[in-house]
């Protein structure tokens, strides 16, 4: 079962995890990304490409589901303005085996960083704004799964 959500509002990670756990596998892995208070950051603005976002996330989840034996995948990504400490993203996977669940969760996050159409703008405390640049480490992480 694949569940994809793109939300302005916050989500309840614990409830999402226990819903997925209810599908019955023995192993549930999850990752939550949140806005990290990094020096002079005040907030993040998350833009996305509405017509493409769900399709791109579903493609990533489908691909994880084919690579590993999963009972379910949940991917939630927020958009709009997010304050320090707020949750940005959840990836959660459920499998009979812990390695499958953890690897699939890691794979989903690595792919999401490079092929899901989201863009982060940093709003600094002094009012300046910068679009976040892609990071080579994210590109490397995503391509490490290509074999």
């Amino acid at each position: 079962m694949i569940k994809i959500r793109i939300l302005e509002d916050d989500f309840d990670a614990g409830s999402e995890i226990s819903q997925l756990a209810g599908l019955g596998g023995g192993a549930v892995a999850s990752f939550v990304g949140q806005v990290r208070g990094d020096g002079s950051l005040s907030a993040l603005e998350l833009e996305h490409y509405p017509a493409m976002t769900e399709k791109a996330l579903r493609k990533i989840a489908d691909s994880a589901d084919q690579k590993w034996d999963l009972h379910g995948v949940t991917v939630i990504h927020r958009i709009g303005r997010l304050q320090l400490g707020e949750q940005i993203v959840l990836a959660c996977t459920c499998s009979d085996h812990r390695q499958a669940a953890i690897e699939a969760c890691s794979y989903i996050m690595d792919q999401l960083k490079t092929v899901a159409p989201f863009w982060k703008k940093e709003i600094m405390q002094d009012g300046t704004e910068n679009w976040v640049e892609e990071r080579q480490s994210d590109i490397d992480a995503a391509s490490s799964w290509d074999h």
């Binding site: 998350l46 833009e47 490409y49 996050m109 899901a116 679009w131 640049e133």
Partner: protein, 87 residues
Amino acid sequence: MSKQLNIVYFAWVKERLGRDHDIVDCPDGIGTIGELLEYLKDKEAVYRDVFSDTERLRFALDQDFVRLDATFDAAKELAIFPPVTGG
């Protein structure tokens, strides 16, 4: 006969162009995204500025990632944006 293409922009591409989309009449003889960008850069200074370094741009045709040399054939929507930074 020319074909109409909806071009949508995101993030700093949108901000620097000052608009979130264009509807472009794409003349015959222009088949790839790269050719279309050259055509637009000839037409308007703002395109020359924003599209100057295609290494910094990413593209999707009808919501699938493609490269600069992709042909748009029957595609209805081209998206132009910076590398994604979600997650």
